[in-house]
């Protein structure tokens, strides 16, 4: 052993040494990386997907991957937020909005060769509805519970009552889904990745391995962790998930039903957690694109010839106020003072990526129900000071929570934004106590359980319905806002069950005006997360919902 070790070492050393030298000379790395090679498109993701079965997912990284292999009944227009046909070219509902009928496309084949029929659609929905055991855990079935409520047999009182009733297939290509009561979640909900249609064969296979009964573990079923079983209808099919290297590989599906096949043979999502690492990977030519580009890098990348298309906005960043923490905060004048104190335009100008706008209300202007005539609060420190004085809250002290080590699509650099807001607040004589918390999980928990006076948070819409924004916050009392305002609460619970879209929009506008008058918090901005691509690719249409379809990508 005393001899063996050094010898082994020596050889390895030699290898390394040669490595250094050779890689020194071999600058051919550059060209073989500058795209064009072997039709492989590599995209840098910020995190690993949770699973490759979209039905089990709830986060963007998962959906970004599955979206390439799975399709939903309804889809969004490329680069927009309007609902358009997906696997169903047409859809409609009865007046009550309790029966939703979908006219399916013809000749849609799954990756495993199965045909798409109404039956298959029903199989999918019934599968979700009949989920039991671990599947009923929010981790695995968040969206189902959010959109269709509970299951055939709820196993925990924390699971909501089911709103899904059933699904019939009157003919080959017509599926009708019945729900108990109408909801603002329909039809938008049908466009969610979570409700992508799987192949019947796959569904049978899924049934085989059921993660439930694993004791105290929340386990993702095996099929959702490795390629092979899952099968959708998308332009790509998942061919490999190498967890060690953090790479999901998809390859072009040649029998894709859509008119155009994918532009590249192979699509790889590689996980690169660190922001600067992602950028440098792109610059070094190791990847061909990545999302959530830091605003500061945009110009640099553009100068270096990289393509940085600008998305539409579909998110909102706000400063939440938890009123019940301090009597002063329950005084609307004080809240108005805060609103006037904040120089939101400055943040948009200096911090947020191009295309960002200062927000006037809790939804971006791209969402139906956006009201032009809400009460607005200009940047006006003097006024703010007056208001504070009137309210007798000159020496107000605020505990200001902000998240660390995170960037969100709506909030590129939380710490910086906090710094600016804090400066503004202090400018009008408010004392600010900083309370930074790591995004996961401290920040989530603290803000949700009402742990701070004011805090930064935001939301990216799932689909184009204002309820998807407002509903999540104001349809009842929550600790994270800590106020009672029945006018607003009622308005929203009313709108939730309003079947008619047009009526809903009117009500949303009303709601927005009411909210901005009551001012539960200060909407700050809507800003598009930047996405960057290497110079040699033809871009996909960028989407405000960050739902890029990489089938559109090809090398120049």
């Amino acid at each position: 052993m005393r001899i063996a070790r050094p010898r082994a070492a020596r050889t390895f050393v030699a290898a390394l040494a040669i490595g250094l030298v050779a890689s020194g000379c071999a600058s051919e790395r550059d060209d073989d990386n500058s795209g064009g090679d072997s039709e492989v498109f590599v995209f840098g993701a910020a995190g690993d997907p949770a699973a490759i079965d979209p039905s089990l997912g709830s986060d963007g990284e998962t959906f970004r991957v599955t979206r390439q292999a799975f399709e939903t009944l309804i889809d969004h227009e490329p680069g927009g937020t309007e609902l358009v046909g997906g696997l169903a070219h047409d859809w409609s509902s009865n007046e009550e909005g309790t029966e939703w009928t979908f006219e399916l496309e013809e000749g849609v084949t799954f990756h495993d060769g199965e045909e798409l029929t109404a039956e298959v659609v029903c199989q999918n929905f019934d599968r979700w509805y009949n989920w039991a055991g671990t599947y009923q855990n929010t981790t695995l079935s968040y969206y189902w519970q959010a959109v269709f409520g509970g299951f055939a047999e709820n196993e925990s009182e924390d699971v909501p009552e089911p709103n899904y009733v059933g699904c019939e297939a009157p003919d080959e290509l017509t599926a009708t889904i019945t729900v108990a009561e109408p909801s603002a979640n329909y039809p938008g909900g049908f466009s969610l990745q979570a409700f992508s249609i799987h192949s019947p064969k796959a569904i049978e296979a899924y049934a085989e391995d059921d993660p439930s009964g694993e004791g105290e573990n929340i386990t993702f079923p095996g099929y959702s962790q490795e390629a092979g079983t899952v099968a959708g209808t998308g332009p790509f099919q998942v061919s490999e998930w190498n967890k060690g290297n953090g790479e999901v590989t998809l390859e072009r599906f040649d029998d894709y039903w859509g008119e155009t096949d994918a532009g590249v043979e192979e699509l790889v999502f590689r996980t690169i957690p660190e922001e600067s690492a992602r950028r440098q990977a792109l610059q070094a030519g190791d990847i061909h694109g990545y999302d959530l580009v830091a605003p500061a890098d945009v110009s640099t990348l553009e100068e270096e010839g990289f393509q940085v298309p600008i998305r539409g906005v579909f998110n909102i960043l706000y400063m939440g106020i938890i009123q019940e923490r301090q009597p002063e905060l329950e005084d609307v004048q004080v809240r108005q003072a805060l609103a006037h104190a904040l120089d939101r335009q400055n943040i948009v100008d200096t911090q947020l990526p191009e295309g960002g706008v200062a927000a006037t209300q809790f939804i971006p202007d791209t969402v139906a129900g956006y009201s032009e005539d809400v009460q607005t609060y200009e940047y006006d420190p003097e006024l703010a000071q007056e208001l504070l004085a009137e309210a007798g809250a000159e020496n107000l002290t605020l505990e200001f929570c902000y998240p660390t080590e995170v960037t969100r699509p709506y909030m590129p650099a939380p710490a910086d934004i906090y710094e600016l807001l804090r400066a503004d607040l202090e400018a009008v004589g408010i004392t600010v106590e900083p309370k930074p918390l790591t995004w996961n999980p401290d920040y989530q928990e603290t803000t949700r359980s009402g742990g701070c006076d004011v805090y930064l948070l935001g939301w990216t819409g799932d689909f184009n319905d204002a309820y998807n924004f407002l509903g999540t916050w104001f349809d009842g009392y929550t600790k994270e806002w800590g106020f009672q305002n029945d006018e607003i609460f009622d308005l929203l619970s009313e709108v939730r069950t309003e079947p008619d879209v047009a009526t809903r929009e009117a009500m949303y506008e009303e709601a927005n005006e009411a909210i901005m008058e009551f001012l539960p918090g200060v909407p700050i901005s809507s800003s598009p997360p930047s996405i960057a691509f290497s110079p040699d690719v033809n871009l996909p249409t960028v989407s405000p919902l960050t739902q890029e379809n990489f089938a559109e990508v090809s090398f120049k």
Binding site: D297, T300, N346, Y418, L420, P434, T438
Partner: protein, 317 residues
């Protein structure tokens, strides 16, 4: 007669004028060697500079380090930063604050974190190490057991990667400057403990200790009066090195988003962590604090190293 005395005086004078070349205590010796070591000189110079800045920084800072005086001149979203210029010698940071002022004021924070956390690690570590060392050396059976328990505990701490330990501490205690100090300090504990214990044991077997004990000097006396003072050398040296590590670990914590919560209060670690994002657009922003940290840490390390060497009797030239 007179000649006699004369002789004696003359002789006495001669003998006296010839000072001994050997002699001088360990420390005097060490100091003598230290003076002549290039490394030590560099180290001391750096350290002195740093301390001075830390002390007077706030007064010589040209601007208020926390107020965003030029915030409408910096556009991070367009990658437009303000580099060094007449008004701001080191340019502005990403929120339009004067970089130079932040560096100057930041030095104090940095030093504070370094010193306090090191002291913490030193005290706790020395306590554990001292107790178990003394126990093992003079505590008989019971002492041995105590020592075993303590050392096992130390082993556990050693076995856990220091950074993870620090991170988890920061997580448990929530973010604050104190947390950073504690997190960084705790990581040092096992090192100090092991070191002190080790050198105490070696001292405990030294002849003079045996002699003292043979003379029936009380154990406490022996430990406190002889063993401990003589064992402190390496521990003290370690603390200089620890100071360097502390500053860096603190930076790492800030980088992981667990640093000083009040990001407005300049501290080099935090500054570096924040500026790193803009390295391509505004390298100067990262380089200032980076150099600050690196040079300071190097200063302490060099000093520590040369002290270690100077104190090491085996390495006398």
């Amino acid at each position: 007669m007179s000649t006699k005395t004369d002789k004696i005086d003359r002789l006495a004078a001669l003998t006296a004028q010839r000072e001994t070349t050997t002699g001088g205590s360990l420390w005097v010796e060490a100091f003598r060697r230290l003076r002549s070591s290039k490394m030590a000189l560099i180290g001391v110079a750096i350290m002195a500079l740093f301390v001075v800045i830390a002390l007077i920084g706030p007064w010589i800072a040209p601007h208020n380090p926390t107020s965003q005086l030029w915030r409408d001149e910096v556009f991070t979203n367009r990658g437009e930063f303000v580099g060094p210029r007449g008004e701001n010698w080191l340019g502005l940071d990403h929120l339009g604050r004067d970089q130079l002022s932040r560096m100057l004021v930041g030095a104090r924070q940095t030093l504070l974190v370094g010193v306090i956390s090191t002291v913490l690690g030193f005290v706790v570590g020395a306590l554990i190490g001292g107790v178990s060392g003394a126990a093992l050396a003079f505590g008989g059976r019971a002492g041995q057991r105590l020592d075993t328990v303590l050392m096992r505990f130390i082993d556990m701490m050693l076995a856990m990667p220091s950074l993870l330990l620090a991170v988890s501490i920061a997580a448990v205690m929530g973010q604050s400057l104190t947390t950073v100090m504690i997190a960084v300090g705790v990581v040092q504990v096992p090192i100090f403990a092991r070191l002190l214990r080790g050198s105490m044991l070696s001292q405990a077997n030294a002849d003079y200790v045996l002699a003292a004990r043979a003379l029936g000097v009380r154990r406490r006396r022996v430990v406190m009066g002889h063993v401990l003072p003589n064992s402190l050398g390496p521990v003290i040296v370690q603390s200089t090195l620890a100071l360097a590590t502390a500053i860096i670990e603190a930076a790492a914590l800030s980088y992981l988003g667990l640093g000083n919560p009040d990001a407005a209060q300049p501290e080099w670690g935090v500054m570096l962590a924040q500026a790193e994002r803009f390295f391509d657009e505004a390298p100067f922003m990262a380089i200032c604090p980076a150099l600050g940290i690196i040079v300071t840490a190097l200063g302490f390390t060099l000093l520590g190293e040369s002290m270690r060497e100077a104190l090491d009797p085996k390495l006398r030239s």
